[in-house]
């Protein structure tokens, strides 16, 4: 395949950082809760990519197993979060996080 001067490792690290950054940015700035959750998934993916890159770099299965753990946890978390959002949106009529201020208690 045609290869570019940039080392594979640096590129992948860059991609994962960018992914994470975009996720974080979205999570921090997006008003809608669902989008925030999606950005959360993005952040997790960034981390996964990061892990896989170094797992390959150090060729040790740890990175990959961690990757798997993250995926599992992300799945569980997404399920719960989304059902919560369903209830919240039913209760507050909207998915915008700011409307949930009254949950402050």
């Amino acid at each position: 395949m045609i290869s570019l001067p940039v080392g594979e490792l640096e590129f992948h690290v860059f991609v994962s950082i960018a992914l994470f950054a975009i996720g974080a940015y979205g999570f921090l700035c997006k008003r809608s809760g669902l989008i925030a959750l999606m950005c959360l998934e993005l952040m997790l993916n960034g981390v996964n990519l990061f892990l896989m890159t170094f797992s390959k770099h150090h060729s040790s299965p740890d990175g990959a197993s961690l990757f798997l753990f993250i995926v599992l946890v992300a799945a569980a978390e997404a399920a719960i979060a989304l059902s919560i959002f369903v209830i919240l949106s039913r209760r507050f009529g909207s998915v915008v996080l700011d409307d949930y201020r009254r949950l402050k208690g």
């Binding site: 999570f27 921090l28 925030a36 201020r101 009254r102 402050k104």
Partner: protein, 640 residues
Amino acid sequence: MIFEGLRWILLAPLLGAVLNGVILQNKSAKISGLVATLASLVAFGFSVVACSQLSGLNSAPEQNFLIDPLFTWMSSGHVYVPFNLELTSITSVMLLVITGIGSLIHIYSISYLSEEESPWRFFSYLNLFLAAMLVLVLASNLAVVFLGWEGVGLCSYLLIGYWYKKPENTAAGMKAFITNRVGDIGFLIALFVAFSFFQTGDISRLAERVNDYAFLSSGVPTWAWYTFAGSLLWAATAKSAQIPLYIWLPDAMAGPTPVSALIHAATMVTSGIFLICRVWPLFAMSPVIVDAAFWIGMSTAWLAALIAVSQTDVKKVLAYSTVSQLGFMFVALGAGSPAAAFFHVITHACFKALLFLAAGSVIHGMHHKQEMSLMGGLKDKMKITHVCFLIGTLAIIGFPLTAGFFSKDMILAKVFAAQGVFGYILLLGAALLTAAYMFRAYTLCFWGGARSEYAQKAHESDPLMYMPLVVLAFLSLFIGWLELPEVFGHFTKITDWVHSSWYGVGVGEQAHLSHLAEWLLMLITSVLSLTVAYYSFKIYQRNPEFKILPEPLHKWSTNKFYVDEAFELLLIKPSMKAGRFINRISDETTFNGLANGSFRFTRLSGRLLALFHTGSVQTYAWHFVFWSSLIVGAIFLWTL
């Protein structure tokens, strides 16, 4: 020599006080008065027995006193205070005076208080006072003396404030108690010095300290001696109403007259001087303090005399005359002769009690009116009181051969011997002033026309009141014979008694005067005082409002030289205000504020922190990211 009888002298009045105060409490003056008088008579009986026992005992000087050990009051570390009673020659005389005059006054007050609604209270306090005075006199340890000392203060407080319905009586009582307390601080300091430096509170052992050279050279700091003597003098000035702390005595007249007679003339006020006489060997160790006593005495005598001259209330006049006479006694002490002072104590007790009781019966007759301006022309309505009052006045101004003459001349002689002519002239002036105001009071009361309807309706008091007057009149005439000056032959009972009570610790007396000097002194004093007396008698018969003192002095003296107001202004008000201010600052604002402040602060900080909980998830996330990156950055920079 052990003698068990002493304790009964003390227990009798105590029992009387308890009987009257707690158990009987019945309303009639007769019964409670009887119980009280009985108690004081029993005490008098026992003291006579004790004195005879003592005089019979003529062993070596160190042993010639009776001891009655009761129990150890407290003993811890260097403080050992056995509560035992002791009778030396000086105390025996004092004992007789107290119990004797005390019983007379009890009899007198039975009738004086006949129409009171709770006489039992008065009689129980009177008995309590007697007991306290006896403790003061009979105690062998200075701490026990202090017990009597404060006890007497308490009783005077209770008795002055007897008619507690009127607020000024209780105020006077409080004033008396507090001024006494100021003096007590001095006494306490003396006690501490005694216990920590002289290792004992026992008067006899203290006296021995003076001449056991081992102790003297063992490095007791000189300031110890001075503080001991100084604080004792301070205590005496408070109790015997000398210059700085005499203000309570005139106000003490708010109490019933028998009280003034017993306490503020005969017994309590003289206890200061009595105490100094008992510890004279130690006192004499610091000559500066002796001189101080002299000058305090002199200035008090003059000041009191000046005020007495312009007083209109008969009891106030007598009160100031007491202060002035006490000044005389201090002068005698200052001149270095406790014997003279003690002799004047004895004689003064008699004629001042007589004068007070006479004034009391006058007031009783005049339905409790004390203003001399209302009196006048009582000599034919109250014959016996008039005669007794006259004898008292003669005695106090030193009419030849009366008790006052002998004691006052002895003092004048001692002063002349010690301080020379200048001191003698000063004292003579005070004596003349005494003569002036006494005769002024006498003539205003008994001579001239009756100036008010009370004076017209005045009647002689019943026998129970004038009988003690007669006895006292007799005493004030002949008590003087106890101590004759050299000139009339060698009959010096008082000086022997005083010296022998120092457990054999002899202290040199002043040089003796030649016969001629003594005659001269006697002549001058009696002639001058008689002329002054005659002139004032004449003037006041014609013109009751005559002012002896020139105008500015007169106004000052009627207002008692504004001493009370000065005290109030300079001492009491600022210290109270400063105290309240300090307390408000230190307690309310700082510490209380601090405590409450800390409570409020926690609530405030709680509310402040709550602001961070905006409830928006994203702000939390944002904070999380920001701070964690900051920290990680910091760590990173740190590890570089």
